[in-house]
């Protein structure tokens, strides 16, 4: 999976592309850990528009991101979810933990 990051003001947008599964662990973690360290950041947006596939390992990675974000008082939002991604996030009721659109 490819991960790119954009920084605007107090928001960092992380764009994910491809298959979000266990093999994406290192790449994803590397990017978001760096993002959470940037001082003026208050919001992190995960742009899922180009995510083809999402499994339970990916959900686990989202939980890790959430834990790190909460420790630094940063809000996480998951945006531009395609239908199949939305379906999985709904079954897992992740809308209770993340702002999802």
């Amino acid at each position: 999976m490819q991960v790119t990051t954009q920084h605007t003001g107090d928001t960092i947008t992380i764009v994910l592309e491809g298959r979000f599964d266990f093999s994406a662990h290192r790449v994803f973690r590397g990017q978001y850990e760096a993002s959470l360290q940037v001082p003026e950041v208050k919001h992190v947006s995960l742009n899922m528009a180009k995510v083809e596939y999402l499994d339970s390992s990916a959900l686990g990675m989202l939980l890790l991101l959430n834990e790190g974000a909460r420790a630094n008082n940063i809000q996480v939002a998951i945006i531009n979810c395609p239908e199949n991604v939305m379906k999985i996030l709904n079954i897992a009721n992740f809308g209770r933990i993340f702002k999802i659109s």
């Binding site: 339970s56 390992s57 686990g60 939980l63 079954i91 897992a92």
Partner: protein, 562 residues
């Protein structure tokens, strides 16, 4: 490095030997090809400098032999050839030489090439060592899997999975599965079942679900509700597992006495309830987060309850089933799975489902563990049937003392949050009341407690249950009234074990602070009272020795011989 110098010229041997010693290596020598091979076998040098033209056996032949001897372990051979012999060069490389010098030998060239060979050897040795380590890890990992598999099987107690009320199918992708099914009956005959799916698959997923069976079986044995069991599992898993690990789970309770189905679904595909005609009458979608994510105080233990009648089936499965892919990666999908259940007669549906999956995936390995449970409500024997087969009471035990007594009084605050029944059942179990008695006692105690609470304190009318949407209305009204229960409401429970030479009797007393039903009882007789309280009291009277109400009707004492 230990370097073998094979050359028939004594001068060459001396010169090369001196150079190598200067470089810090240890030279050993051979005068011809045959000796070279012998010395090689004996000394196992790291590198060989081989002259081609030698008597007895030439360099090419010796090279071939040495190469075949050192098959697994890289031992570079550098040949010494004459300047204008391309043939020598080609033959040398084909025989297995890794590099060559041309005569006359120049020392700087020898130095450089030997150094290059040394680097190559170091890389090779490094790879060999890593390969060995990898093989060891692989072996250890396979062993761990075997042990975990063994523990998993023991913990899920397969003998309890042969309850005739349900069928199940487990198809893991590998030796270890993150999918788990447990089932057991409460003392009251209610079937509890859990289908769990741990994050990922393989060893870590299997380990994730290991804590669940013990919690499930222990709590079911003393009749905790599935919502409470789910909450307990969540707390344990949240504490035990890392943040990114969680378990999707569906917990189901099917009560044959009250004809109800209760479901808690967090993260699994929708649980389907079909009626006797194969129509989908209810879907319990996942409306909770999977187990192990939320803090205990944020956990939602609420369940969905549905009444069932003849022919009802309950179907639940992990996402491995609808996600099963064919050769092109297309998923099986929920619709096709549902059609199997809609269109197939009860008796064949599991076989039909397996056939569908096999056909779709073309019998190739599926990507995720598959597990399916089908509960046939018709096959749940009712509690009444079970009692007729219960074993006769055991011989009198004289090990207990004069008799113990437990008394508890619960106020409004406690009644809103506490279910005291599991605690009492657990106590009786620890005091060595046998399972046969425990079932009867569970029924008696729950009946008396629920009557005291629902009718005595909350003043609910059983008749509500029978109207349209009656069941739901009853539950909603009960929740409302419980929340509004007045501060001075109390419910007393007393248990006393009375022993004499001839008998052992358990005396159970329940008293609520309500008005009692004295008037109805006195005016309309026993039949009316039964209608008000459901058939529960009749059943208690059948099982217990004596049932006595006080005048007001808000206190009852039951005697039960052990």
């Amino acid at each position: 490095m230990k370097i073998l110098v094979a050359d028939d010229s004594a001068t060459n041997r001396a010169v090369l030997g001196a150079l190598l010693t200067n470089m810090g290596h240890q030279p050993i020598f051979a005068e011809n090809g045959r000796e070279a091979v012998e010395v090689f076998e004996r000394e196992l040098p790291d590198c060989v400098l081989m002259d081609i033209m030698m008597p007895v056996e030439d360099g090419l032949s010796a090279t071939r032999r040495i190469k075949s001897l050192s098959a697994g372990r890289l031992t570079p051979i550098i040949m010494v050839t004459t300047l204008d012999s391309e043939t020598d060069l080609i033959n040398g490389i084909e025989a297995g030489a890794d590099d060559y010098f041309t005569k006359p030998i120049k020392m700087p060239v020898v130095k450089a090439k030997v150094r290059a060979m040394q680097r190559a050897i170091e890389v090779q040795r490094d790879i060999e060592q890593k390969t060995q380590e990898l093989e060891k890890y692989y072996y250890d990992a396979e062993n761990d899997m075997r042990i975990t598999s063994h523990i998993m099987q023991r913990m899920t107690e397969p003998e309890k999975l042969d309850d005739p009320a349900f069928e199940y199918w487990l198809q893991p992708t590998a030796q270890c599965s993150g999918d788990l099914i447990c089932a057991a009956r409460t003392p009251g005959g209610v079937l509890h079942l859990i289908l769990a799916d741990g994050t990922g698959h393989g060893l870590s997923a299997a380990m994730d679900v290991i804590p669940l069976p013990q919690i499930f079986y222990a709590m079911t044995a003393i009749a905790y509700s599935i919502g409470t069991i789910a909450a307990e599992m969540n707390a344990k898993i949240k504490a035990l597992l890392p943040v990114d690990h969680f378990i999707a789970a569906t917990l189901i309770a099917v009560d044959p006495n009250n004809q109800t189905i209760e479901v808690w679904n967090g993260g699994n595909p929708t649980c389907w309830i079909l009626n006797g005609r194969g129509e989908l009458v209810h879907s319990v979608r996942s409306k909770h987060l999977p187990i192990g994510i939320l803090e205990p105080n944020a956990f939602d233990a609420s369940t969905e309850k549905v009444r069932f009648s003849a022919g009802y089936r309950i179907i639940t499965f992990s996402d491995g089933l609808p996600d099963a892919g064919n050769a092109n990666g297309a998923e099986l999908g929920l619709d096709r799975v549902l059609n199997v259940f809609r269109k197939t007669a009860t008796v064949n549906c599991m076989a039909k489902l397996k056939a569908l999956v096999a056909a779709h995936t073309n019998n190739t390995k599926t990507h995720d563990d598959i597990s399916v449970v089908i509960i046939h409500t018709d096959k749940l024997a009712t509690w009444a049937d079970k009692t007729s087969h219960s074993s006769p009471p055991p011989a009198l035990s004289t090990t207990l003392s004069n008799g113990w007594r437990l008394e508890m009084r619960l106020g409004a605050t406690e009644l809103k949050v506490l279910d005291p029944i599991p605690f009492v059942i657990d106590l009786l179990k620890k005091l060595q009341v046998t399972d046969a008695h425990l079932s009867s006692l569970f029924l008696i105690i729950s009946e008396l407690f629920n009557n005291a609470l629902d009718h005595g304190l909350l003043k609910l009318d059983s008749a509500i249950k029978h109207g349209e949407n009656g069941f739901e209305n009853y539950l909603n009204l009960r929740a409302e009234r419980l929340a509004d229960l007045s501060h001075d409401a109390t419910l007393e429970l007393e248990f006393e074990n009375q022993i004499s030479e001839e008998y052992r009797v358990l005396k159970i007393r329940v008293k609520d602070s309500g008005d009692g039903f004295n008037h109805q009882f006195a005016e309309h007789g026993k039949e009316h009272a039964d209608l008000q309280h459901g058939r529960g009291i009749s059943l208690v009277q059948k099982i217990a020795d004596q049932v006595v109400y006080n005048y007001a009707g808000n206190e009852v004492i039951v005697s039960y011989s052990l």
